[in-house]
Symmetry: C2
Subunit: 316 residues, 2 copies
């Protein structure tokens, strides 16, 4: 009988850890070094109920299993007292096609693998001595991203900004306690960017937030909020000002991520995929003064990596 | 907790029935009368293990739930003592995106909805007084298709042909007992076609089997075997000779079905989708002398219809 593992069982057993970051790092490397099968995202729109289901999958040669992920967003659910996000990760044997396990994780594993990708980006692109983290946004992913940075960089302080001050204060309180670092609530996004070595943007904004003249030498930005045609967190000039622009998957960044509105052929040509860096095919940052950006729109290989890892941790 | 229903539990409760045929008929109608969301099939190839996973889905406006189906074929499995087909049907609430139930049906519901589509085709396109069924192929789907015909036409006798005579004999014995009709094993596919009012082709053949000069006035053929780029059951001349050519989904028939090798613009233009007939938008056969063909390559709306129907039958 196929086992369905729910979110509660996972919360206790799957923390954000250096081990998980390693798994995601390996998946990024595989994305450029292996013949990965990663079909286009399937999307089913349910306009009558303001809902959508996205399906992602990726097979990595040499992995004994792969994941098919269904993730849904039904944006009228909160009015009904229900979470808007739902979904499943289905782990399938690469050798036989049999379903090994189903995770009814309500987005937990996606949150974790996304945060782990943020850690991979910081580890490979930001300055090694980055101590000041800046977080734009105050949701679950904002929390995970800050925690992820502490796994790979000697983060001592953090700045946070969000549209709702109460949420920023709640973030501050919760994360100071959890991570034992000092956190400041910024009055503006600009204040956060100007006072940080690494900035992670985690908003669902459709209007660019970060402006080019806020950028300073040595800054690294990971933009992980934009993953759809209508979203954007960085204004056009920001990318122009970066010395190194990296992303998880180039064609996806151009379709759904921060490169969507960029028509500069030179920037596109010079874009480095994260797997080229993790796989030691190329170097990203070459000096502490450079400004670097990583755009993450999310890939199926991350789902495959974390689903397989979770199955192992659970003793599968 | 999400419930996973396995094949055994379904086998006892979901028979091939007129009620199911009605559900599938309604789904075909919806396909042409409603703004159905039916994305392109997602396919994940696992070349290392001679395997593939296909993902299909369709949302029908007005239906309270829809299905996402994973179906896998791992063609080295039989050597390992395992069935080559696996998969899941996942029934999702149209209103909230919540997973209502998962069917680990090992292809049973797909077999049933495919057979029910054969019944819909026969009911709407074949001669009403069709009494002689002809079946090419001797597998599970051959059995279901014959049974399906008996639900909608006064079938009295059947002819069967397959490449392996022993399998044809086993089919004959089993189905005579099950359906209480007289079945003859044909020496050739030609013999079957020449002696039938309705022929259903159920083979995975990549070489056309049915030849144009075997066709006789009044014959109806349902071709359901071809559902991939390399498959074909009808030789080109067969379609040319038909008075009426119908299919489930035109663009899919041109990509994966019997229209794949057809470049005759007039045939393509005159092709009728089954939903246009079931929805009374047009008429297919207009006389008992016409030769008619229906090509079925399988659609997500059938999966949504049967998954939802199954959930109801199980008391969901």
């Amino acid at each position: 009988m196929i086992q369905v593992i729910d979110r509660k069982a996972l919360e206790e057993k799957i923390p954000l850890s250096r081990e998980l970051v390693k798994e995601i790092e390996h998946a990024f490397t595989a994305l450029v070094t292996e013949e990965v099968t990663m079909p286009e995202i399937m999307r089913i729109d349910i306009p009558e109920f303001n809902g959508e289901v996205d399906i992602k999958s990726a097979y990595i040669p040499g992995y004994d299993s792969f994941c098919v992920k269904l993730s849904s967003g039904f944006f009228d659910n909160p009015e009904k007292g229900l979470p808007s996000a739902n979904g499943l990760m289905i782990l399938i044997s690469s050798e036989t096609g049999e379903v090994k396990q189903i995770f009814a994780d309500q987005g937990l594993l996606t949150d974790l693998r996304t945060a782990a990708a943020g850690a991979v980006a910081a580890k490979h692109v930001s300055r090694e001595n980055s101590e000041r983290a800046g977080i734009l946004g105050t949701g679950a992913q904002a929390r995970y991203q800050l925690e992820a940075l502490t796994l790979v960089r000697p983060i001592k302080t953090a700045y946070v900004w969000g549209r709702t001050p109460e949420k920023a204060t709640a973030f501050q309180k919760e994360m100071e306690e959890k991570l034992g670092i000092s956190i400041t609530v910024g009055d503006t996004a600009e204040e956060v960017v100007r006072n940080s070595d690494i900035v992670v943007t985690t908003t669902p904004s459709s209007e660019p937030i970060v402006q080019a003249d806020w950028l300073h030498p040595g800054l690294h930005i990971t933009a992980m909020g934009s993953d759809a045609e209508h979203k954007q967190e960085l204004s056009g000039g920001v990318i122009q000002k970066a010395d190194v622009f990296t992303c998880d998957v180039l064609h996806q960044s151009r379709r759904l991520g921060e490169l969507r509105t960029c028509n500069d052929a030179k920037i596109i040509e010079n874009t480095i995929e994260l797997g080229e860096v993790t796989g030691n095919q190329t170097v990203s940052r070459t000096s502490d003064n450079q400004i670097t950006i990583t755009d993450l729109s999310g890939t199926g290989v991350q789902d495959t990596a974390i689903a397989r890892y979770t199955f192992q941790i659970l003793g599968g």
